[in-house]
């Protein structure tokens, strides 16, 4: 798992690759929570994430809760069908907007 963060206009972009499970989730959490400090528009790019375990889903929800506290919004980009299915079954999907591409994600946030 590898995770990076950057800023596009006012939007915070977090990109992860690989598997986010109990071993890698703490890394993901540290990087992501630092990056979103004080931010209200966040995109998490999961295009290159092949698996999200329960611990990984929980980090996503923690990001959502922090951004939500600032009346912000979190968009997930490139979420695979399998991950979407898992997220739907376990209720996590309801908290997020979904976009297929980064551009689409940016549009969702800008028009929100």
């Amino acid at each position: 798992m590898n995770v990076t963060s950057s800023t596009v206009d006012t939007i915070t972009l977090i990109e992860a690759t690989g598997s986010i499970d109990s071993k890698t989730a703490p890394d993901f959490e540290r990087t992501a929570l630092t990056a979103i400090q004080g931010q209200s528009e966040v995109i998490i790019d999961l295009t290159n994430v092949d698996f999200l375990s329960s611990a990984g889903l929980r980090v996503l929800l923690m990001i959502y809760r922090q951004v939500k506290a600032k009346n912000g919004k979190v968009v997930l980009v490139g979420t695979s069908e399998e991950i979407q299915d898992i997220m739907a079954n376990t209720g996590f999907l309801a908290f997020f907007s979904l976009a297929e591409t980064l551009d689409e994600g940016l549009t969702i946030l800008k028009t929100a």
């Binding site: 109990s22 375990s53 329960s54 611990a55 929980r58 299915d85 898992i86 079954n89 376990t90 209720g91």
Partner: protein, 705 residues
């Protein structure tokens, strides 16, 4: 905010694993800072070893004997550091005496599940072939307990307003015709919430969802060659873990989140969730059974034992949980509190609940501490508590179950009376009336809310089969048709099994409608068996506990094939929910305390105000005065119901309505599809306001408005 504590740091090390003394409470495995707190009790073990596995591995990666100085009383506890919460599987080895005559059956070669485990792995996908050589088949795991409930809250619907739908998680959507993703799972029930709402029920009661092993006693069917399994699941492996195989995400270990999501969504739709819980025995069987957990941890505490050290069998399944032992009682209480608090469960139905009132020696207690504890528990205070008030040891407590003002019961007498009345037995009018008014003969002190009314449940014939079979046909179960009940009070309407005789088929459908009508106009709480609203058939099998196939699965194509039944059932449920006069929290008083000119209830017959109570009578009518609804607090219409189970039609003289009100037709089961019932607000006014010809074996419902 506390950022550091002394107990965040290890003091001991074994095989490279760091640990320290733990906390005795809570029992089970709890995530703490940097580690996991393990706590387990045994009254007679001489030592306890924690066994740790990486998920799915054949051999443990560590075994840590819990140092005796970590033991507090009879509780072994230890914090272990740097474990992978998600990948960890754990169990225990307990050493101690092996002396069955004294109740001890310790066996340190066995790895034992934690009775308090919140997740149990090993049967992660329904009927996935297990590795039979696994040294530890049912593996305790950790659960994340931080589910985001948002603003969800148990619904606390007044019990008299419930319409309960008894459902099997897998059976509801496993049939290919269900048309949903992830068939047979919690997630698939969520996809069918719109159907449940349309049907109009406001509570589902799930057959056991505590972890069980569908492979238990599995074998081949002699008639079909199919594998027969433990489909119903009345055989608990672990009381705190949801059945992984019922979750689409069970293979990822996410069943806890999936089930909670289902409950949250059901609550949003106004639907309560009651769990059918099995605290009378466990999956360990008798002395020949497997040692999974309880037997190897503390046999004498967990089970009712004969003086010789064998297992009492009041459950009919090999062993009996010793639930009035103070330690076991606390476990049951902890378990129910956990489900109520962490899963937002609205109520519990207790399988073979009479056992919960037995002392450790098996004798019935007059004041059973477990039942009392549950009734007065602060966390369970708003939960519905429902007893199946009998057991397999001959204790039958319908009407006498120790209720403490809290407990309702499955009213087995309601089922028997309604069935006999429906098949036109003589001498049933008085009996049927008792059931319709909430069984005051049984529950005089408790009120009609003590009575869960049902005509069918998972155990026995489906409603359609009740009118298609005189005898049970259980050959597919492989027990030479010796299993299942023989006193079904069923009637095949003239032919055993399927027929293309239109008259017989019409009568069967009419009888199904009659049953729905009776159920929905009765005081008390109606319970509908999944699929009865579309005429689900089990082909005459009245004990389908082992059938994971079309005998049990809800066939969604029946929604069209039996559209008449579905429409009638839906309208009857709608009728009940629209008319509070049918849902009184208290018994009738038989007088006009609302000064309306009518008593709250009155009885009629072919002559108004004149009911034939004689032995030969098979018909009667009753009138509910809407001004007395909910003890006169709300206004409702007048409701008149005529039931004629005589084999000829009878003219019923209608009681005269107050000035300005007219009789309207809600239902007439003698009519065909489209004319047998009407939606609320669409009831046609009767041309003849003084007399109604009620057909043979038919029920007519009118409202005066």
């Amino acid at each position: 905010m506390i950022e550091n504590r002394i107990d965040y740091y290890p003091t001991h090390e074994h095989q490279g694993i760091k640990f320290r003394r733990g906390h005795a409470l809570p029992f089970g495995a709890t995530m703490v800072a940097n580690g996991v707190n393990f706590s387990i009790y045994s009254s007679a073990a001489t030592s306890c070893t924690l066994v740790l596995f990486e998920r799915g591995e054949a051999e443990p990666f560590a075994e840590i004997p819990i140092p005796d100085e970590f033991r507090i009383g009879n509780v072994y506890c230890m914090i272990v550091f740097e474990l992978d919460y998600e990948r960890l599987e754990y169990g225990y080895r307990m050493d101690g005496p092996y002396n069955p005559a004294q109740g001890h059956r310790f066996d340190p070669t066995k790895i034992l599940s934690d009775p308090y485990a919140k997740v149990t792995g090993g049967r992660d996908t329904w009927l996935a072939k297990p590795n039979w050589d696994n040294i530890y088949p049912y593996r305790s795991r950790l659960a994340f307990e931080d589910f985001d409930w948002e603003n969800d809250h148990p619904l606390e619907t007044p019990i008299e307003d419930l319409v309960i739908y008894e459902m099997h998680v897998r059976g509801f959507t496993q049939h290919p015709s269900s048309g949903v993703k992830n068939r047979g799972t919690f997630s698939a029930i969520r996809a069918k919430i719109p159907y449940l709402k349309e049907l109009g029920i406001n509570c589902i009661e799930l057959l056991p969802i505590y972890e069980f092993d569908e492979w238990e006693n599995s074998r081949e069917s002699p008639t079909t060659g199919e594998v027969l399994v433990n489909y119903w699941g009345y055989s608990t492996v672990n009381f705190f873990s949801p059945k992984a195989g019922y979750a689409a995400t069970g293979k990822f270990g996410m069943q806890v989140d999936e089930l909670k999501t289902l409950i949250k969504e059901l609550h949003k739709a106004g639907i309560e969730v009651i769990l059918d819980v099995v605290f009378n025995h466990t999956a360990e069987g008798d002395h020949r059974g497997h040692t999974i957990s309880f037997r190897g941890i503390d046999n004498k505490t967990y089970y009712m034992l004969t003086p010789e050290g064998y297992y009492f069998n009041f459950s009919g399944t090999g062993n009996t949980l010793n639930c009035n032992n103070p330690v076991v009682r606390n476990m049951v209480l902890d378990c129910l509190r956990y489900w109520a608090a962490d899963y937002h469960i609205d109520g519990f139905r207790f399988d073979l609940a009479a056992i919960l009132g037995r002392a450790p020696d098996g004798s019935p207690l007059s004041n059973p501490p477990l039942l009392e504890s549950l009734a007065y528990d602060p966390i369970l205070a708003k939960c519905k508590l429902i007893a199946e008030a009998w057991d397999a040891g001959g204790l039958y407590q319908v009407g006498s179950f120790p209720a403490y003002g809290r407990w309702a019961e499955w009213n087995g007498k309601y089922r028997d009376s309604a069935r006999k009345f429906l098949k036109s037995e003589s001498g049933m009018v008085r009996e049927m009336v008792q059931r319709l008014i909430g069984s005051p003969d049984l529950y005089s002190q408790r009120g009609p809310t003590a009575s869960i009314n049902f005509i069918t449940c998972h155990d026995g014939f489906s409603l359609y089969d009740l009118f298609a079979y005189n005898e049970k046909h259980n050959e597919a179960n492989g027990e030479n048709n010796n299993d299942g009940a023989n006193d079904n009070n069923s009637w095949n309407c003239g032919w055993e099994g399927e027929t293309d005789d239109p008259a017989i088929n019409f009568l069967r459908h009419k009888q199904v409608k009659n049953a729905f009508a009776i159920l929905m106009v009765s005081q008390g709480i109606p319970m509908v068996l999944m699929g009865d609203e579309v005429g689900r058939t089990q082909k005459g099998n009245n004990n389908t506990y082992c059938q994971d196939n079309e005998l049990n699965w809800f066939d969604w194509s029946q929604l069209e094939a039996n559209a008449d039944l579905y429409q009638f059932a839906r309208r009857m449920i709608q009728f009940r929910r629209h008319h509070p006069v049918l849902r009184s929290p208290t018994f009738f008083q038989y007088w006009d305390y609302a000064s309306s000119g009518f008593p709250d209830i009155s009885f009629h017959g072919t002559k108004a105000w004149n009911c034939d109570w004689s032995e030969s009578s098979r018909s009667f009518a009753f009138l509910l005065c809407g001004d007395h609804a909910k003890q006169g607090i709300v206004k409702d219409d007048m409701v008149y119901v005529a039931m004629n189970m005589y084999w000829n039609g009878l003219h019923f003289e209608l009681p005269a309505l107050p000035e300005g009100k007219r009789w309207h037709l809600v239902a007439n089961t003698d009519m065909g599809y489209g004319e047998d019932s009407f939606d609320v607000g669409q009831e046609p006014e009767l041309e003849n306001q003084t007399d109604f010809l009620v057909g043979a074996r038919s029920i007519v419902i009118l409202i005066g408005k």
